[in-house]
Symmetry: C2
Subunit: 158 residues, 2 copies
């Protein structure tokens, strides 16, 4: 548990920091979300660069997704994605039944409205990770019951 | 190595973020350093709270310092402090011969002037950790040859 704690706490404080500094000027929630997403993007790019330093070339898109679900997720969240689905047409859904960055919030529906700000960084993280492998994507997140969470990845064909 | 990578990358991007957002307004370096220090303080408080949840009460100040050098440092940086010294009058010097948050910078003296922004967060981290245990302190850092680094803690008697 203590293993990923520094990362979790830093992630939490970065959210607080960005929302607090926005109080003195910008008020738009969307802008803070975009900042967090962007921060995640850059972290994801860097991390993927390091993680794939010595790995073999990926066979295809699905092979990349499996790497994200296993190696990449384990590196950041110390667990694998619980379920990966795809329509084989460029849409992937990654389900994490116990998403670590939501575990500080109470389970259930009470704080559901606050979920987006705890997910924006990770959406960017996944987008950045894929981008580093040359895969352009749009990543969104969805929570129905905390701390379970689904990330949907739409591959942008170039 | 990959274990603390998410934390390292996030730390690095937070520095970039704070310095970049400052370009559009405030220009003072000291203010950015203070922001990073403050962010570290809050992370340190939270982490220490969690780490000491099940530990026995500390005997004295030195006992606390040893905990910071071993358990706390290992939790964040995956290694212990290499050397702890004290004058037994409230000053402690913690030396890390291979400080992880400087490892992205080249060794040697070339980038020495940039070191403070990579150390501010950790100074706050230590101050926050001690504060959580009721020890008020001033923490400064000093680098002579990267990536070795010394943190000086001055206990504020109350």
């Amino acid at each position: 548990m203590a293993d990923e704690a520094p990362f979790q706490f830093l992630h939490y404080e970065v959210i607080q920091y960005i929302y607090k500094s926005a109080e003195n000027g910008e008020t738009e929630n969307g802008r803070n979300i975009a900042k967090l997403e962007n921060l995640g993007f850059r972290v994801g790019q860097g991390l993927m660069e390091r993680l794939t330093k010595d790995t073999a070339r990926f066979k295809d898109e699905l092979d990349i997704m499996k790497f994200v679900c296993k190696d990449f997720w384990t590196c950041v969240f110390k667990k694998q994605i619980d379920n990966l689905r795809t329509n084989h047409q460029g849409i992937y859904v990654l389900q994490d039944n116990k998403f670590r960055l939501l575990s500080q919030l109470s389970a259930g529906k009470q704080y559901l409205e606050h979920a987006p700000k705890y997910l924006a960084f990770t959406c960017g993280l996944v987008r950045g990770a894929l981008s580093n492998l040359g895969v352009k994507s749009i990543v969104t997140a969805e929570v129905s019951i905390m701390p379970a969470c689904k990330f949907q990845i739409m591959i942008q064909k170039m």
